[in-house]
């Protein structure tokens, strides 16, 4: 678990990053060392409140003496490591990871950072050919492991598919899913421990799924929304936000974010209320807060509607 790792400031470790000497506490990761030097290191599957799963590989760096690149997010520093963060090998792998994702997933709601990194590394998702047509609803959910239909010479496979809307609280738009595993971690061992979702299937057919791909209301989901809180690409989204976006009314320039405390039980969870036009449109919690580590329950995440069930004006 993320909480198990402890930094030991009494034991500083010195390593070299891009030729400069860097000293960080023992137990730090290469990513932390890079960030301590202000080196902009792309990450997609990494989040401060989750144990690193190092699956997206966009943070890879070159470690002298290592046969392959190493993930900065999870690799602990060791004394005298020599790291390159901008070598040709690093740049190529980062570009390819971004191209692979952008050519197979809808990244239009990912953060501005992603667009910046794509520009920086010269990622060109179009060079894999025209995208394959969208898949039917639930088609990807049924892909068994093992043999698949032979790849097409004409089109680049992708995960485009219809949005899953099966409850009033949040939607799952897996056309935007990069399989960063964060939602599975948050639903599972890293926070909620409900395990309503897991990675199912294998290879390019791998996807986030409930048991037998059942709709959420029949699943084990308890609607804590901690999966939404960690999703980096908008694949998991408040229904309120999804509806506003669908109606073309989502406008971040008219939004404010205010920290307050949940009105329900006595645990005292900090809520970040995102408000547009005097209505709450999304609720999160700060990742670095001792009480919540960014996680909430259904009441804190979604139970605010009562303050805006106002008579029609």
């Amino acid at each position: 678990m993320s909480t198990a790792r402890r930094l030991d400031a009494t034991r500083p470790v010195t390593l070299s990053i891009d030729g400069a000497s860097v000293t960080v506490p023992a137990g730090s990761t290469i990513l932390e060392a890079c960030r301590s030097r202000g080196i902009d290191t792309p990450t997609l599957c990494f989040l401060e409140n989750l144990a690193p799963v190092n699956v997206c590989r966009v943070c890879v760096v070159e470690l002298e003496g290592a046969r392959v690149l190493v993930p900065a997010c999870s690799r602990p520093v060791e004394a005298d490591m020599k790291i390159r963060t901008d070598s040709e090998r690093v740049r190529l792998s980062r570009r390819m990871v971004l191209e692979f994702l952008a050519s197979s997933v809808d990244l239009s709601l990912a953060s501005d950072d992603v667009r910046r990194w794509m520009e920086r590394y010269g990622a060109d998702p179009s060079r894999y050919g025209p995208p394959a047509p969208p898949r039917a609803a639930n088609e990807r959910d049924n892909a068994g492991p093992g043999h698949h239909h032979a790849a097409s010479a004409g089109a680049a496979a992708n995960v485009v598919q219809p949005v899953k809307v099966d409850n009033d609280l949040y939607v799952r738009d897996y056309a935007r899913c990069i399989l960063c595993y964060k939602c599975v971690q948050a639903c599972g061992v890293e926070a909620q421990n409900t395990f309503a979702i897991a990675i199912a299937g294998r290879g390019f057919d791998a996807r986030v799924s409930t048991e037998f791909a059942t709709p959420l209301p029949e699943s084990a989901c308890v609607y804590c929304g901690n999966c939404i809180g960690v999703c980096p690409t908008g694949a998991l989204m408040f229904k309120s936000e999804h509806d506003l976006r669908g109606a073309g009314k989502w406008d971040e320039s008219r939004q404010t974010v205010t920290d307050t405390i949940c009105p329900y039980c006595g645990v005292g969870c900090t809520l970040e209320l995102r408000v547009q036009d005097n209505a709450i449109v999304r609720v999160t919690s700060p990742l670095d807060h001792d009480v919540t580590s960014g996680h909430l329950c259904i009441k804190g995440r979604f139970g605010w509607q009562f303050v805006q069930n106002r008579p029609e004006e």
């Binding site: 920290d259 329900y264 039980c265 006595g266 009562f306």
Partner: protein, 544 residues
């Protein structure tokens, strides 16, 4: 017992504990984010013990679930204490150094043998023994409780019985070990800390202590009554006796949240003057002569709340209140003005600073610090103090700085309402994950988990009574009856039934509950009513 009404530990300590006892707490549903800390503790190797009549979703995580009979907590706790003593596992050094009246406790628990406890609680003696040993031997142990301990006619005795265990084993006053009541509402702790208790001024100062009173009188420039007020249950008694005829209710819904609802409604209706200040027009509000529409304190107003780990945190205004609603503070100031008292135009921060000028718990908690440090845990006497993750570390100091911790011997007293042939089923109450109290707030959102009120019973009881899963029945107590669909619940054993208070408009569970009250705390025995289940003759008589 310790002199301060608050959980002694931080949530974080749970993550490092070796054993966690949740006693009368279904934190998985009622305190979900606290339970995240429990889960981290479990992942770090902690053993979890859950003491609860139901095998709740919390209990399903436990290494051991002790499913005691409702209201037998003291018997169980005392038997654990006796067993710890019999096995020589008590912390003699701590007892000798930091506690008083140990002998009285030791004598009192002598009759609570494991066999006696098994008889009274239903829990096998061997399981009680194992848990007692595990708790006593653990290096770090957390003991937490909720309303399963306090919503009883002998609530305070229940609490003492648990605290005795912590004293016996030295599981208090150290990082990782402590006793924690988990508060049911977001500012129960803060309300009490601010003096919203019949006998208290802010910061635990006693209203009947002249020295305490005087400081606050000086600060406020106004006299304070010398005698403690009435707690809620007492107020209803005094209404019954004709001694209370006007009531000003702020943010409560006693018409639906009080046990024995028929009686509560009658008394409220009989008041000469009822003022209700609330976000909603609640059932209580409907009875009121005057209603003040109030802003939501957590998102339409500024201020602070205090959590179960004594953490004071800021609430902030994110929304404009609707219509004529005003903040609680504005309403109070306006009432003051109508009474001819000019309270000025105070803002929350200024009131806070005024309060903390006299509160040693809050002295160092400026708004600036609260914002910068994600809140602070009291006591935090001055601006350089980092706050207190845990309490009573002094008990381990030499000499003990302050009074000794006192053992308070307690005796097992079963629930007031006994099971009889006419009322053979024990009804207990609690919360579900997605709902809250009487549902006035959680009713506002569309929860996919919500299935409305049910009378949860054991399959065996259903089959014995010829009642199918889902069938609407009439649940009858000595005070009232409700029609409610039955749900077979595998977490219940025969003879035990469960309901919530979340859907009072549809199924008024509190028509069934008993208002037998702990004279010391004023808490009613919501957890233990006796009912019978009757088949409803015609299917047309489905619950509304």
């Amino acid at each position: 017992m310790f002199g301060a009404g608050g959980g002694t530990s931080s949530y974080r300590e749970t993550e490092e504990a070796n054993i966690i006892l949740l006693w009368g707490s279904n934190a998985r549903e009622a305190h979900p984010i606290y339970f995240h800390h429990v889960l981290r503790g479990i992942r770090n190797g902690a053993r979890l013990v859950v003491v609860d009549p139901r095998r709740t979703v919390s209990a399903q995580w436990a290494d051991a679930w002790l499913g005691l009979d409702v209201g037998s907590d003291v018997a169980l706790a005392n038997a654990m204490g006796r067993e710890i003593l019999a096995a020589g596992l008590e912390n003699r050094e701590f007892i000798g150094h930091a506690t008083a009246k140990f002998d009285a406790y030791r004598d009192a628990v002598q009759k609570y043998t494991l066999e006696y406890a098994e008889r009274e609680t239903g829990v096998p003696a061997s399981a009680i023994r194992d848990v007692a040993h595990a708790y006593a031997k653990a290096e770090k142990a957390q003991l937490c409780w909720t309303l399963g301990i306090t919503e009883h006619h002998n609530a305070l005795d229940n609490v003492f019985a648990l605290i005795n265990l912590a004293l016996l084993t030295g599981h208090v006053g150290r990082w990782g070990s402590g006793v924690c009541p988990l508060r049911g509402q977001n500012n129960v702790q803060g309300g009490g800390d601010m003096g919203a208790l019949p006998n208290k001024l802010p910061a635990g100062h006693d209203v009947e202590n002249p020295a305490s009173r005087e400081q606050w009188e000086r600060l406020w420039g106004a006299p304070i009554p010398h005698k403690r007020g009435w707690h809620l249950s007492r107020m209803f008694e005094e209404m019954e006796h004709g001694n209370l005829s006007a009531l000003y209710v702020v943010g409560e819904n006693p018409a639906q949240s009080e046990a024995d609802q028929t009686r509560a409604m009658n008394l409220l209706e009989g008041l000469e003057h009822l003022v209700v200040q609330d976000m909603f027009l609640t059932r209580t509000g409907e009875l009121a002569h005057v209603v003040f529409p109030a802003a939501a304190s957590w998102c339409e107003d500024e201020g602070t709340v205090t959590s179960s780990e004594r953490r004071v945190q800021r609430v902030r205004k994110a929304l404009e209140p609707p219509g004529q609603a005003r903040t609680d503070l504005e309403i109070l100031v306006e009432i003051g003005r109508r009474f001819g008292v000019d309270l000025g135009s105070p803002v929350a921060e200024r009131l806070w600073d005024e309060m903390r000028s006299l509160s040693p718990w809050h002295g160092g908690m400026s708004y600036r610090r609260l914002e910068a440090e994600n809140g602070l845990q009291w006591p935090c006497p001055d601006e350089s103090h980092p706050g207190s993750p845990f309490l009573h570390g002094r008990l381990w100091a030499d000499p003990v700085g302050g009074p000794l911790a006192i053992f308070v011997p307690t005796e097992h007293e079963p629930p007031v309402e006994r099971l009889t042939e006419d009322f053979p089923i024990r009804l207990t109450t609690g919360r579900r994950l997605d709902s809250f109290n009487t549902g006035v707030q959680t009713g506002g959102y569309s929860s996919p988990l919500r299935r409305g009120e049910t009378l949860d019973i054991a399959r065996e009881d259903g089959e014995r009574l010829g009642i199918a899963d889902g069938e609407v029945v009439r649940a009858v107590s000595r005070r009232g009856a409700v029609d409610v669909p039955v749900r077979y619940d595998e977490t219940l054993r025969p003879g035990l039934a469960f309901m919530t208070l979340h859907f009072q408009d549809e199924v008024a569970t509190n028509l069934l509950t008993i208002d037998a009250t702990d004279p010391k705390s004023g808490t009613a025995e919501f957890k233990a009513a006796a009912i019978r289940i009757e088949k409803v003759a015609a299917p047309a008589l489905v619950a509304r």
